[in-house]
């Protein structure tokens, strides 16, 4: 192992682990057995899996080729079932961002009210406690029936799963603003609006950003399942479509891209959180 800073050594270890994983994967998917004797017509129908003993699971090289193929031309559009993976991801990201934005618009102000008023906290708590643990997909039939549009329904599902962490974290952040900061505002006769914007919001901002980070992660988890259900477009639909096409290389490509996009969304909000954090 190389000497040097911890980050360098960690990166080296990551590379070693990755190489080991790929090697195991490679050997596990090597073709087994020789060429079977069969009617050439039948062999053509059955494909290399039957004729060369090739594994049904794609090899690292298959997946590598699929990833390169997708990334080389991510935005083609040849009809409803043949869209580039970039377009599918863009649909999913768009839905998540719209649903998340709606959740922020509703969840943050409502969380503010709950956090500032013990009465509202007690009055709304039973609703929050019951609604929070419901799987967002359980709302789908209700959404489809009342909204009558599958794309909007998936946005609604994103909204409903993203709103709870935002609501709860905002309420917690607002309720746990240090009493002495509120007392400063009171002795300075600061009005409700100015107190909310200049004292409570900056004080609770790190907690609110944590809520946003949880929300966007949950939303990105849920969008894949929601799009499998409603179909049409999106990375979730793409995964299910490629499963029906029996193209596991494409499924694995999509899985990796889902992970990468999820990480990017999380890191963006982590960066936002660092902007509003403060040392006491």
């Amino acid at each position: 192992m190389p000497r040097g800073p911890l980050a360098l050594r960690a990166a080296f270890l990551s590379l070693v682990l990755f190489a080991a994983f790929v090697a195991i994967w490679h050997f596990a998917t090597l073709p087994m057995g020789g060429r079977a004797a069969m009617d050439p017509e039948y062999a053509k129908l059955m494909g290399a899996g039957a004729t060369h003993g090739k594994s049904a699971m794609p090899t690292p090289l298959d997946v590598g080729a699929a990833i390169v193929g997708h990334l080389r031309d991510p935005f083609f559009d040849r009809g409803p079932n043949t869209k580039g993976i970039g377009i599918q991801l863009a649909y999913s990201i768009g839905r998540v961002l719209i649903g998340f934005a709606l959740a922020v618009i509703v969840g943050v102000p409502l969380g503010f009210v709950i956090g500032m008023s013990p009465l509202m906290h007690r009055a709304l708590d039973p609703f929050v406690q019951v609604l929070k643990p419901i799987s967002p997909l359980a709302w789908m039939p209700l959404a489809l029936y009342s909204i009558k549009d599958s794309a909007l329904s998936s946005i609604f599902v994103i909204f409903i799963c993203a709103v709870w962490p935002l609501l709860i974290n905002t309420a917690f952040g607002v309720a746990s603003v240090r009493p002495e900061w509120l007392n400063v505002a009171r002795t300075l006769e600061v009005g409700l609006w100015r107190r909310s914007l200049v004292v409570i919001l900056p004080a609770a901002a790190p907690t609110i950003l944590t809520g946003m980070r949880i929300s966007v992660s949950v939303a990105w988890l849920v969008i894949v399942a929601a799009e499998m259900l409603v179909g049409g477009t999106g990375i979730g639909y793409f995964v299910w479509n490629e499963w029906n096409n029996l193209s596991l290389s494409n499924v694995i490509t999509a899985i990796l891209l889902i992970g990468a996009v999820g990480m990017a969304l999380d890191q963006a909000l982590a960066w936002g959180g660092r902007l509003v954090s403060y040392a006491e």
């Binding site: 002495e180 007392n183 002795t187 300075l188 200049v198 403060y278 040392a279 006491e280």
Partner: protein, 294 residues
């Protein structure tokens, strides 16, 4: 001197615990007054409700009984007339020093122009000798500097009265000493009316005109009012050379060590006129600054 604040029959009690019938009384029948330009210290053991009394004066806590009058009008809430210096400095950690002070200045003069706000902030910063640290966040400052900002923020709004809740108790001894000297200087310079809570007998003798001694809680009350006869200007390093210093200090310490408990159990007959102690003899209530309050 004009009377600025009078506290009349103040009491604080909490609902009884389960099983008990009587409410728990923290303090009761607290009467005193503060004149304009006067520096009054309140000394007592923990749990006698000192901070509650200050919070009631500030208007951020309600008493169970009694009233606080400012200029003969009842206090019903917080006011920019009475600035508070908190024990924990209570600066907003996401704002720089100058923006913490500007927050207070803008609250006091909402119509003020940017130039005027900057001028007032700078004057407050200079007053507490923090020039150069304006752009720093509170987390980058030492404890003493943070409390200077707290003092600057309170003075920047030009209040009629300063309320200080053990402002120096969280600081180390050296920093505390220099801030006490500075507080003494500021109070002489600005002739500020101050009500301060403290544990520190020397601090009270250095700063106060009168020292209110409080009995232990529960059912605490004002036991005595000690007039500080050590002449001004007082300085920390030669305070003890004054002939009146040790008798005064011994009197207060003896009260805190022994009599704070006895006096509570045998309270003075008239809580409106606690005995006034004037170095060497107990003054009669008639000579008290606390004249009968109608």
């Amino acid at each position: 001197m004009r009377r600025l604040i009078s506290v009349e029959g103040l009491a604080k009690s909490f609902a009884p615990r389960r099983g008990a019938t009587d409410p728990i009384s923290v303090f009761e029948s607290v009467w005193f007054a503060v004149d304009e330009g006067e520096f009054v210290c309140l000394i007592g053991h923990s749990g006698c409700g000192k901070t509650t009394i200050l919070n009631v004066l500030a208007g951020i806590e309600a008493a169970s009984a009694g009233v606080v009058l400012v200029d003969d009008r009842e206090v019903s809430g917080p006011s920019l007339e009475r600035a508070v210096i908190f024990q924990s400095h209570a600066l907003l950690p996401w704002l720089s020093v100058e923006r913490n002070i500007a927050f207070a200045v803008r609250s006091r003069w909402p119509e003020a122009k940017r130039d005027e706000i900057r001028r007032r902030v700078q004057r407050a910063v200079d007053l507490v000798q923090l020039a150069g640290a304006e752009k720093k966040r509170p987390s980058e400052l030492s404890g003493g500097m943070k409390q200077r900002v707290g003092i600057a923020r309170a003075l920047a709004i030009e209040p009629r009265m300063l309320l200080m809740d053990e402002p120096f108790s969280a600081l180390d001894a050296l920093t505390r000493g220099s801030l006490q000297d500075e507080a003494a200087r500021l109070c002489v310079e600005t002739n500020q009316t101050v009500f301060m809570i403290t544990h520190d007998v020397d601090e009270a003798i250095l700063l106060a005109d009168r020292i209110l001694l409080m009995t232990n809680g529960p059912r605490a009350r004002i036991a005595e009012i000690v007039v500080n006869t050590v002449p001004r200007p007082r300085r920390r390093y030669d305070l003890h050379r004054h002939a009146g210093y040790y008798p005064l200090r011994n009197h207060i310490i003896e009260f805190l060590m022994e009599r704070s408990q006895q006096v509570r159990d045998a309270p003075p007959a008239d809580p409106r006129h606690p005995p006034v102690v004037c170095l060497g003899g107990i003054a009669t209530p008639a000579r008290s600054k606390l004249e009968t309050i109608q």
